[in-house]
């Protein structure tokens, strides 16, 4: 793999950009792998990368039914943050945020990570009191966030309508949070994993999981059968569907979460603005588009499209907060299929099937977890021992009752 640099850019410019290498290899699937990862989104590719690069696993493949990053990794609003309420979540997502900070050097790709801060606003006295408690809890987790007054919010987002229908009482900001280019994250992990020897096999759908004696023995795909010592499911909203092929039930419901972007405009919004109460979050991408997200469609869906009423809700909330956006034209709208766990926390690690691992339950916030999900799952697979950061996020918590209920605390209403 030739490295990306300013020098290589100039060198290729001089030869008319005709000699760039393939970014990742396109191999035929082999008959057997040490570890087979199903799903080449951010989590699957990151897991493959950390397995090959840091855990010394030689033969790793990632199977993808479509193209890499074509699922939720290409359908998110690219936010990273670690302002979580519970210590378990704080530790895990802070690890992820720090890996986002070092990712450009780690993967030799510009992920355009812009730590412009995430600003959560509160629209009632009660919410303001809860935010104070929340900021203290996040501080106890060792993570830096600050309470902001109405005046400070106005300074941060000059166009905000503080006296909207549910007036703004204050807010809090995590300044190290931010947005990155989601495709660069996916391509970066794919390129680095491929260079480390991982086979990335696209257009290869898994149609069956054969098992005996509580072990997966063979994976049936549209490009032939493949055997593997260990198998990991990194398929987000389709986790339940694939787990069922192995006779495994998961406490996951799949729902569609949609987002949309406007036409590109001059830089105007310099942070990620989020309101849990009237339920909208908004940022501006490096291309100038205003990126808008909101609530999920609250019924089961495997369709990668959202319904019109939620778009209306999002728009109403947005123009109430930022009336200046009322004449923006929307360019695109899309939805991803989210894997919601009952406590809105991930399920990552071992399963009752000896050599099957899952990475699911990321719900509406899987993007920010990509590097830490990959790192900890790779460790767990290679050592057959659950990484300390994900011990609280095991499947058995639904039986023991030790839930990590981030439904209210993860920054968005569910």
């Amino acid at each position: 793999m030739s490295r990306y640099s300013g020098f290589s850019l100039i060198r290729h410019a001089l030869t008319g950009h005709r000699h760039w290498q393939r970014t990742w290899r396109d191999p035929e699937p082999k008959k057997h792998y040490d570890v087979l990862i199903i799903g080449a989104g951010g989590h699957g590719l990151a897991t493959a990368y950390y397995l090959a690069k840091y855990q010394g696993v030689k033969h790793v493949a990632v199977l993808e039914k479509g193209y890499i990053g074509g699922g939720n990794s290409g359908r998110n609003t690219q936010v990273s943050r670690s302002n979580y309420y519970y210590p378990e979540s704080g530790a895990f997502y802070e690890h992820a945020l720090q890996l986002f900070e070092s990712m450009p050097r780690e993967l030799n790709i510009n992920t355009m990570f812009s730590q412009r801060g995430i600003l959560g606003i509160c629209n009632s006295r009660h919410e303001a009191e809860l935010y104070r408690r929340w900021v203290n809890a996040v501080g106890m987790n060792g993570i830096d966030t600050e309470l902001l007054s109405r005046e400070q919010i106005k300074k941060c987002v000059p166009h905000i309508n503080l006296d909207c229908r549910f007036p703004i009482w204050g807010g809090f900001i995590q300044k190290r949070a931010g947005i990155s280019r989601h495709d660069a994250v996916v391509w970066g992990y794919a390129r680095a994993a491929s260079a480390a020897g991982v086979d990335i096999i696209q257009q290869c759908e898994v149609i069956g999981l054969e098992s005996s004696d509580s072990r997966i023995t063979r994976v049936n795909t549209t490009r032939g059968d493949i055997e593997a010592n260990q198998v990991a499911l990194c398929v987000a909203g389709h986790s339940g569907h694939l787990a069922a092929m192995a006779g495994l039930r998961l406490p996951i419901s799949s729902v569609a979460l949609q987002a949309m972007v406007s036409e590109p405009v001059e830089p105007i919004l310099h942070t990620v603005l989020m309101s849990a109460h009237i339920h909208v979050y908004v940022s501006q991408s490096d291309r100038g588009e205003i990126v808008i997200g909101g609530g999920a469609d609250m019924f089961n869906s495997y369709a990668q499209r959202g319904a019109l009423p939620i778009q209306h809700d999002n728009m109403e909330a947005l123009i109430e907060l930022l009336p200046i956006f009322s004449r923006l034209r929307m360019l695109r709208q899309w939805a991803g299929v989210c894997d919601m766990a009952p406590d809105v926390s991930p399920i990552i690690g071992k399963t009752p099937i000896e050599n099957l691992f899952v990475s699911t339950g990321w719900g509406t916030g899987g993007y920010k977890a990509i590097p830490a999900g990959g790192d900890t799952l790779a460790y767990t697979i290679a050592n057959n021992e659950t990484h300390s950061l994900i011990k609280p996020f095991q499947l058995d918590r639904f039986t023991t009752g030790r839930l990590i209920d981030e439904g209210a605390a993860s920054g968005v209403a569910h």
Binding site: H238, G240, H241, R249, L250, P251, I252, S253, S254, M298, F299, N300, S301, Y302, A303, A307, L308, P309, P342, F398, T399, T400
Partner: protein, 100 residues
């Protein structure tokens, strides 16, 4: 946008309804006698099929009656609407699966 045939009020838009999740989930009759695994299954585990799904809806901004529907989770097509306590007629096999 879904349009749902309320058994009382007729065809209405999705915004008038609220989805109550999977239908036919039965609370164990004697919770003290149930194992932790079975109790977790009752509380947290849902069928979540990619395809035909039996689910409860309530006409919250209308007659406020609960009822069941059979809906496809990929196409969002509503196949059947039936009363609480009834089994779906057209999807008998699927109904059995979702009550597991």
């Amino acid at each position: 946008m879904l349009r749902i045939q309320c058994p009382i009020c007729g065809l209405r838009d999705q915004t008038e309804f609220h989805c109550g999740g999977e239908a036919h989930v039965i609370r164990p009759a004697n919770p003290e006698a149930v194992s932790d695994e079975d109790w977790a299954d009752y509380l947290f585990y849902r069928t979540n099929p990619r395809g035909v799904h039996c689910e409860r809806w309530v006409h919250v901004h209308g007659c406020r009656q609960w009822f069941n529907i059979v809906r496809d989770t990929v196409t969002h097509e509503v196949h059947e609407v039936y009363a609480m306590g009834e089994e779906p007629s057209s999807m008998a096999g699927q109904g059995e699966e979702s009550s597991a």
